[in-house]
Symmetry: C2
Subunit: 332 residues, 2 copies
DNA sequence: TTTATTTGTGAAAACGTTGCACTTAGGCAA
DNA sequence: TTGCCTAAGTGCAACGTTTTCACAAATAAA
């Protein structure tokens, strides 16, 4: 059938062990022997079987990536960061979509562990007690990316969502706005429903602006839900003069929803988004937005995971990347 | 260490083979025995080691996916289709970005074969002779998705790009346009440089409109290159009155490039895009575009691959999915 | 020269499954 | 009774590596 290490050994008149040494770059091989073996490998077209290697060495150089939805711009960008660093460290990636469905998440976790991945990168919405329990049971390291777990037990890479939301809203307040709406992603997502909302409220409170329930409208991350959100806000007796939107895609929806009603941006309405996806520069006016470095979060998370997999020392299990506001034309 | 099939066998007083049968749903097991084994599995928390299984059975239930860039909306959407069908058939996916770099592509191919994937899904730009040679050497099936290989030797799933481009341009001609530009992706990509360009030319020829080199401008798929492309066209003595753009993202660039110069769309300039990514509805005016069913291409390609992996009969190795034009507001 | 140390190599035991060739116990027909 | 068949199991050899240990040969130190 396929050529094995045994075939190479026989042809080269050495033992399997020596072939293995050559293949793995072990220095304890006489140069002349190495050359001989290499020649045979070339001649026979030998390609080591990674499965057999995995069984023997208990390492697969493969990591599992559980991601809500790879077709989302946001996660796709993170995935690219993850994969680039993985490649750099010679790992491959098993990628699966979870749709933030707990059943699927847990199922995928098990499948990946069964496949003996060397580590797991998890992205999700709600990390429940049960998740944490399973994570802790795992014998391979797990890192969360752009995903918060309230007790900070599991290593993770994020930005400070509360502060980022605060900054955005504070900026709007500084410009003199009193009626500032918040178009959020699903409120059961801790990042939106807890962190960002908290930042929004803190900024208002600090400026002694009363919190108004009617100004917070829930979307589902999509462009269309952004349009609908604006429609809802437009029906208010007193319309907002500025809107902080939880994601760029919804922000585009909000902008177009407003423009469709003849509202001029930024003159009559200022809008700030969140994430700084490529979408942000693809609208007119271009979107002012909070930059969340998605690629970097993925990359840093993967890098962190490699450290755990190599049993290197890590001083900070919870890494918080910096954020900033990118000022464009949807604000004055 | 971890609990193995051997531990389960001992605890349940049966042989490893019987445990294996229970795990794999083989009917040759007495119900009472099955129950007993299942209980022990549950009690010990046994989880079969997929690597060992892969070595013994020579099947890994894993397929390799070589993709140019997962962070591109276009490919991300396809990846989702691929993964969904893979999940449906109980396969996992090893996903890697190639950046359409031949070296990387060939390297990835080898890595994946070394990992003993059961099949490979390949997406790329230029499929060279060398690619085909390697593909043919592979002992596992390979399917191309949204990727053309001129001799049609390797199974693939596509739409008819030439006809699709023809349809778009023909539609523009029907509306009375005489000066129709084509903003294309890199010309060394066969889909853009060969197929779509050919369709564009055929439509012109058929209408006896002379082909004008100056009206074909090359972009690099990005939004910004769309803007630049329009800038170039705007400098022409005689500007185009309609533009066919090779991808939606570039089409958005073209639209904004035109709008930034005060050109009204669709009144003064009609634009039609290609792909029908989610972007198409996120501009004002909304983009008229050729719909290429990306999700479906991915899904169908994966389905085709499963057939090969199961050694099912396939009557058509080259599948061509239908395309159509979605009329929106960037055309009259 | 002798002794210790390094270097190079081989044999064989894991690694955790599946697949195959066999047993064994009943049931049934001749 | 005997022989044959079938269902339900058993036992063990793959599968293709890595890894440990042992050991011989070559080199360095005494």
């Amino acid at each position: 059938m396929n050529v094995t290490i045994y075939d190479v050994a026989r042809e080269a008149n050495v033992s399997m062990a020596t072939v293995s040494r050559v293949v793995n770059g072990n220095p304890n091989v006489k140069p002349s022997t190495r050359k001989k073996v290499l020649e045979v490998i070339e001649r026979l077209g030998y390609r080591p079987n990674a499965v057999a290697r995995g069984l023997a060495s208990k390492k697969t150089t493969t990591v599992g990536v559980i991601i809500p939805d790879i077709s989302s711009i946001f996660f796709a960008e993170m995935a690219r960061g993850i994969e680039d660093i993985a490649t750099m460290y010679k790992y491959n990636i098993i990628l699966s979509n979870s749709d933030q469905n707990k059943e699927k998440e847990l199922h995928l976790l098990n499948t990946m562990l069964a496949k003996q991945v060397d580590g797991i990168l998890f992205m999700g919405g709600d990390v429940t007690e049960e998740h944490v329990e399973q994570f802790k049971k795992s014998d391979v390291p797990i890192v969360l990316a752009a995903t918060i777990e309230k007790n900070n037990i599991i290593p993770s890479v994020n930005i400070d969502y509360e502060q980022a939301a605060y900054d955005a809203v504070h900026m709007l307040i500084e410009k003199g706005h009193k009626r500032i709406a918040y178009v959020t992603g699903p409120l059961n997502d801790p990042i939106n429903g807890l962190k960002k909302l908290a930042g929004y409220r803190r900024a208002l409170e600090e400026a002694s602006i009363a919190y108004d329930d009617a100004l917070v409208v829930e979307g589902d991350y999509t462009y269309d839900s952004g349009i609908e959100a604006y429609d809802k806000l437009a029906e208010l007796a007193e319309r907002p003069t500025a809107i902080f939107v939880g994601t760029d895609e919804m922000a585009l929806g909000v902008i177009h929803g407003a423009q469709d009603r003849g509202v001029r941006i930024p003159d009559e309405l200022e809008v700030v988004g969140f994430d700084n996806t490529r979408l942000a520069t693809m609208v007119r006016p271009k979107l002012t937005t909070v930059v969340q470095p998605m690629y970097d979060i993925g990359a840093v998370a993967m890098r962190l995971l490699t450290k755990y997999m190599n049993k290197e020392h890590v001083d900070n299990h919870i890494v918080v990347l910096p954020h900033r506001i990118e000022y464009r034309d949807s604000t004055k």
